[in-house]
Symmetry: C2
Subunit: 115 residues, 2 copies
DNA sequence: CTTATATGCAACCTTGCGGTTGCCGATTGA
DNA sequence: TCAATCGGCAACCGCAAGGTTGCATATAAG
């Protein structure tokens, strides 16, 4: 289960699970906290929210399944850290769709002007 | 309801609904079809899928609520077209998070090297 | 006018998601 | 050793998501 092979698998057009994982405010806020680079424990990530630790744990599981995050056990706590790969893929997806759209518009425009 | 004001509202950090709308393979394929620039009717979007027209209609509703798509009635059919704004916002979000992460990593690295 | 096409609306079903509670094991620290 | 802290596991709950079927309505085509 090397990271390389995982990344290769992912690139095979499975964007939906990534978007789905990001489609929740709680999870977006977790991503925001972790994007500081500092690993956070579950208890730490639960602080400030009105949620149960279990709820946060479930959200972390979702993020982990989408490879947006990974955890390392450190003593009695497990530290979560951001995994930036999928976020880059999201950016690439958005760029591709935007580019496709822009080219299509340009084509339509030139058709109209020629006509 | 000018496009400007809509875009301004959206920019207020409501990324979750956009991601959620994109977090489904069927809807991603709809977006892909529409990114060609050519408006598609519901019947047209249903062709090739193993889904009911009603199911596709519901997905279109979700995309519409997230402002990823809008429809125009043309005779007896309603044509759907891509709305590129939210996709751009997705790209911006991904860029911001990536940049934040990269800066954090650079900071950590320099700390290690100094120490 | 009649029929076929394209959609809308509403009810209904099943499943998954977000969330909670309760209990148990492991690690830390006094 | 004993208590407190951090997590994992499992059961349970309500509700929305994804999907279907059936029927109604408007437009197009013959």
């Amino acid at each position: 289960m090397s990271r390389k092979s995982l990344s290769a698998e992912r690139r095979r057009r499975n964007y939906a699970p990534i978007f789905a994982a990001l489609g929740d405010e709680t999870r977006l806020s977790i991503v925001a906290k972790l994007s500081s680079g500092e690993p956070h424990s579950i208890a730490r990530l639960t602080e400030g929210t009105h949620l149960t630790r279990q709820a946060v744990t479930k959200h972390l599981r979702v993020l982990e399944d989408a490879h947006l995050v990974h955890s390392v056990r450190a003593g009695r706590e497990s530290l979560y850290e951001l995994d930036p790969g999928p976020i880059r893929e999201v950016r690439e997806y958005a760029e591709v769709v935007s580019a496709h759209w822009d080219r299509a518009l340009a084509r339509l425009k030139s058709l109209v002007e020629e006509g």
